[in-house]
Amino acid sequence: MTPSILIIALLLLSFIAYQLGKARSLAVVGGARGIRNLHSLPGHYGLLTALWCGLPALLVVLVWVAVQDQVLIALISAQLPPEVRSLSSDQFVLFLNDLRNVVAGNIPASQVSPATAAAAGEYLRLQGIARLALTALAFALGIVAMLVVRGRIRADLRARNSVERVLEGMLFLCSLVAVLTTIGIILSVVFEATRFFGIVPAQDFLFGTKWSPQMAIRADQVGSSGAFGAVPLFAGTLLISAIAMLVAVPIGLFSAIYLAEYAPSKVRSVVKPLLEVLAGVPTVVYGFFAVTTVGPLLRTAGESMGLSVAGESALAAGLVMGIMIIPFVSSLADDMITAVPQSLRDGAYALGATRSETIKQVVLRAALPGIVGGVLLAISRAIGETMIVVMAAGLAANLTANPLEAVTTVTVQIVTLLVGDQEFDSPKTLAAFALGLVLFIVTLVLNVIALYVVRKYREQYE
């Protein structure tokens, strides 16, 4: 059996084990009438039998699938003809490549050397034996476990406790996957960034003002030394994020105040979902909008006022990014404002405060930490936003504070550095990891501060 069919067969076997265990537990106490004498429900006994039957056998199959190729190659290598064994390591890798292709059926055996074809035949023979043995072993394990557990079912067997422990372990494994993946990503970024900093000094990267990452492929090409000063990228990112926040914070905050304090419930029930729809628009669509509508519009408007506006200006990207972030700010601020207890508003009204005085001086004041937290989260979103700036902000690494010029951002440069075929040891490619690391650290710090502020605020009113 191939491993996939074997796994399905094992699942079927486990199902049988479930039924057997369940039936056995009922038989032990003399049928459904005696169910009060059982420690656990019959289903728990069934599950316990099924888990014992299926899990160890599945584990064996999975381990074999993981190591099978290495084991088989090692076995074959030992009996290869001497002319193959004397190949250089590069050529040997090529030989193994051919071998695998023949085994997978990608290349007919007639097109490769006789040695390869013979080795492939051997590989297939060993694989066949291994599969047979694996099938026998897995089934034997499953059936033996099933029979042993079934035999041990007594009325006082604590099946529920064991089953729940296994389930708890599975839940733990799932959460572990998420955490380990994150750690893996961080480590790979840190590792590659360290390699970059081995080639380009960190101070040149962090404080240099010239960014031109083109590296020559051959030593005799012109411009063979790239410049990796990331300051123009940081400045561009800051400029665009600042413009975005200038748009998003006032509009988002004021719309939240309107929705939470002034809007009749009818208006609120229509406007709030509409605002949240904005959050669901894919960012590439916003990028579109920035390039085809906002950019040209700004350009025409600028010309009519005698200003020269670049086609891909920081202003266009920032404005559109700001619009994208509005729902983010407004829905967080709205949550914070509605969380302010009514008793505070009553207290202000009872002193003769008007509605706007109450909102400005009491409600917003109480909601301020939460709103600040929301704004920080929004900033970290703006900094990490990619698609809009890739489409609308351009690639020119200008160091400028003029929002009408084209600038580039950290995310845009990461994309351009990694698009297309790349060698993974040139500083040009590694620079992307260094940029990614900076981006990651900045957004991480912002998020941590924001979460801290928000949590602190929540405690205050609970």
Partner: protein
Amino acid sequence: MNDAAKTTIGTITVAEPVFSCRNVDVYYGDKHAIKNVNIDIGRKQVLAMIGPSGCGKSTFLRCLNRMNDTIVGARVEGAITLDGQDIHDKRQDVVQLRARVGMVFQKPNPFPKSIYENVAYGPRIHGLAANRGELDEIVNQSLRRAGLWEEVKDRLNQPGTSLSGGQQQRLCIARTIAVNPEVILMDEPCSALDPIATARIEDLIDELRESYAICIVTHSMQQAARVSQRTAYFHLGDLVEVGDTNLIFTNPQAKLTEDYITGRFG
């Protein structure tokens, strides 16, 4: 439930009333919460409002400074006059009304500001102080009258929420008297406090009575007996009986009142 209003037993009028309420009805949507209530509220005395939960005493209290305006679907009918002026008159601004009729709530609700700013808030929004010196004086006087000055004079800049529950409630009272109202409404001001803090607030109410008209809603009949001169008993939206506190507690005229104060229900 019998929807027809019953006649109130006892004396509803007082000489020179500060508030005069006639035929007051309150509806929350379809619910008839207050039924044809007639009562006067006298100057420099404490009126206690007692009755089982849901009898409408808090609702009635909130009519007096139009706090029911903030509740969607609430409707107040009838005539309520403050010093002879209808508080529902179009010319009556609700902001000015609330400056004249202060309110203290069930749960202390200091603003998220410093102790000083909590008390200064009312005078500020009503422009009662011309300069910082006057404002300091108002804050100082209000905290003294609320009996809180000695405890907080060294930490006026700390947040109001850092005080204990009883201190917070006295801060809220100081905040209320800082705008120099004519009437103070208190909605179960001690229900969230321990007996010692309660005793302090009751003493304070007794002192404040020399300057203000006070209406207090309470669930504690002992408290009503201790602090008030007149008592009104509400039952299911009706004002059943009103009269001198001594009389109500020693010789109630209505059967419902007697049952309630003797603990037969409630």
